[in-house]
Amino acid sequence: MTSARRLHQLPGLLPFLVPALLTGGGVALPLLYLALRALEADPETLRDILLRPKNLELVKNTLSLLLGVLLLTTLIALPLAFLTTRTDLKGKSLFSILLTLPLAIPGYVGAYVILSATGPGGILPLPRLEGYWGALLVLSLITYPYLFLGLRAAFLGLDPSLEEAARTLGAGPLRAFLQVVFPQLLPALLSGYLVVGLHVLGDFGTVSLLRYETFSYAIYLQYSAAFDRVYAAWLALFLLLFTGGLLLLEGLLLRRLSLARTGKGSGKKARPLSLGRFAPWAYLSLLLPVLLALVLPLYALFHLASRFPRENLEGLWEALFHSAMAAVPASLLAVGMALPIAYLVVRYPSPASRFLERLAYLGYTVPPLAFALAWIFFSLKSLPFLYGTLPLLILVLAFHFLAEGLGPVRGALYQVPRRLEEAARTLGDTPTRAFFRVTFPLLWRGAVAGGALAFIGAVKELPLTLLLAPMGYSTLSTRVFSYTQEAMFAEAAPFALAIALLSAAFVGVLLWSERRF
């Protein structure tokens, strides 16, 4: 509810409200169009679409991949988080950084490495993995860091006295862990599961290259090969339902859990567990994911890049240029949209501003293929001059990566003392003027970090670019994808390598802006 005082402030806030509302519309409107387009089907077609046996198969595939990845990431992340926080191993913080790096590898590059480097005649001594197992391995290796980071923070924040109390009451170490420690890790596990789950549902590159038909891949196939747009729209709606279900489930579980959580306690440090003769095994288990997710792929990439046909260099420069031409404006736009939203959330907290922020995150959680499809329908119907143009791609990328920019900007804004702005206001500035004179110069760092994250995200992005790029507009990511699909591995190598290097930059920016370790 806006009080009279709030209403009085509105004119000064307009420069913030308008972009904020536009942003909300850019996410919500296309999704409405998607639903409209899906409901356009005549009843008979609709019955056919909804009762297709294929739908069941897709649900089964998507769910089994989701559960498989959640299980495997837990098996990887939980022991690693324990080892890097609660034991006496050397170099824990270095390992923590190394173990976070795979986060930056896009799924399609992982799939490319598996396809190009394994099997008979491959340079890695591994059997060819594809289909379910290949997708499971790649997705788990690139998403476990989300879980790892959350669990690490949870382990560090645990109150050791609870555990010690359990031990003095005669519980063995294992029982103490299961009954006392594990319940306290659940919130971190659940939020990690949500992020990993959204990734798996949204993933298109990995499953399509490794030929495992989940909803995302099916949407692409129906849209591009079978050319069934109404069915594609329905599949996108199904996928949105899945995503929504995941968000709801996580919210419900977390709410129930947070009631049962204890405070932080005394802030006492837990005594590190001495591993003794198990230390070598512990080091090995820390190295294994790094080896599988970083060292082997990089080795394969460099090796394959050395076979790259020279005459294609022109294409590499072109793709680099195209990627930059889409990602630079998109990231500037994303930060430009993040600023007013962050400002409203931090300075004028209310249900309305929080709802706006939710909308901004929604653009990020909507599976990109569903989002791209929604924008295609929307632009064809109401903005035909935009359809198939670069500005549309830039716009949609900005809407999608807005959330990446929002975090750092909001964080920086919280650190700007409100009193500075108020001082400017008492000197007669409007809120907008006060913001630009006083606050913005102090936000610079957060805005750069947010922009950098959005930029790198936009360069690596595949599904939106694939569906929305203008004709003949191939970027680094679409080149990797199309060459891999044609089994032209040597040709794809430098493009994949360029993406991998950018990903390394991504981690650098992340560490610089968050100072995690």
Partner: protein, 331 residues
């Protein structure tokens, strides 16, 4: 401060460039980028005409052309299949072409006169010669499911249901044997639990990597893998079998085209000795114009034509084939 101003300028410049795109010859290609790009580059170098290419599947491009309607920027539609060109012609999307162009190819000139055939390819069976002997392979593609069952190859057969030539082959089957038999064949194939690939090279690479042992593909893909030094088997079924269906690729000019001169030059270039030599040499397809040096991997053109059933390629029942594939959940 300086840095900030600089970054803002770069951003504005990028936005400005994005909005200013110049007009050139626009090609919608159902043929793959890896195959089209070198030729387009040659054409640009020789004529100075800039070509913009939009890649997609034939079905995708047909639908895009219809969605875009009179707003379409396309000048030339270069398709993977005669069926797609036939559809484009019957929907009135293509301009009739002059006789100078239509007289050049040796065969397959369409009755609609709205497009010109450019190259020819045959469907073949690719297999792993270390696993299978040529003499045991079936004489008809209709017997492929039974053969695979007997050899215990369930789960080791590949196919490319999203690829236009495969869909044309299914349409050819319907034209020859009717929908009932085609449905039986597809169901029997499905029962083998085949692996579906997004492209032919990916499927052949899977044969190379030992994922699968055989799959129906287009002849030039096998040729290309053999040239790269991989040992792949190539099997023709008996003469007239739909498993050897000959398929023409071709190109037409769109009614919406505003660059007729450039579009005509591009089509002429595709049929020129240089263009045709590129298809026969680099790509490994059959040229359709006289005076091109055939490749050692290819059969003489007459022999290749004798292998295929005689059908009207412009009128293959593609819609029926797609409906059938969807109905069976293959697409």
């Amino acid at each position: 401060m300086q840095l900030r101003r600089f970054l803002t300028l770069i951003g504005l410049g990028a936005l400005g460039l994005a909005f200013a795109q110049q007009q050139t010859l626009t090609l919608y290609s159902g043929r793959g980028q890896s195959l089209v790009e070198p030729l387009v580059r040659q054409f640009q170098a020789e004529t100075g005409i800039r070509v913009q290419v939009r890649y997609g599947t034939d079905a995708q491009i047909l639908a895009a052309l219809q969605e875009e309607g009179s707003r379409s920027p396309a000048d030339v539609f270069w398709a993977n299949t005669a069926g797609a060109l036939g559809q484009a012609a019957s929907k009135g999307l293509l301009r009739p072409l002059g006789d100078t162009l239509l007289r050049q190819p040796l065969a397959f000139a369409p009755t609609s006169k709205a497009w010109v055939p450019v190259t020819l390819r045959l469907r073949v069976l690719a297999y792993n010669p270390q696993k299978l002997r040529p003499e045991e392979l079936p004489a008809s593609i209709l017997d492929l499911p039974r053969f695979a069952q007997e050899k215990g190859l369930a789960g080791r057969v590949g196919w490319t249901p999203t690829y236009s030539s495969f869909q044309d082959m299914v349409a050819g089957m319907i034209a020859l044997y009717g929908e009932v038999r085609t449905r039986e064949w597809l169901s029997a194939m499905k029962a083998l639990n085949p692996k579906g690939y997004a492209s032919n090279p990916a499927m052949l690479d899977a044969i190379r990597a030992g994922e699968i042992d055989l799959g129906s593909t287009n002849h030039y893909y096998v040729v290309r893998f053999r040239r790269a030094g991989y040992n792949l088997g190539l099997h023709y079924f008996k003469d007239g079998d739909p498993g050897n269906l000959a398929l023409v690729t071709g190109a037409g000019i769109l009614k919406t085209s505003k660059n007729l001169v450039a579009a005509n030059r591009f089509l002429t270039y595709l049929l020129s000795p240089k263009g045709q030599q590129y298809f026969a040499g680099t790509v490994g397809e059959y040229p359709l114009v006289k005076g091109v040096v055939a490749d050692a991997h290819l059969l003489p053109l007459e022999e290749a034509l004798a292998k295929s059933p005689k059908l009207d390629f412009e009128k293959l029942p593609l819609d029926q084939a797609l409906r059938l594939l969807r109905e069976l959940g293959i697409l």
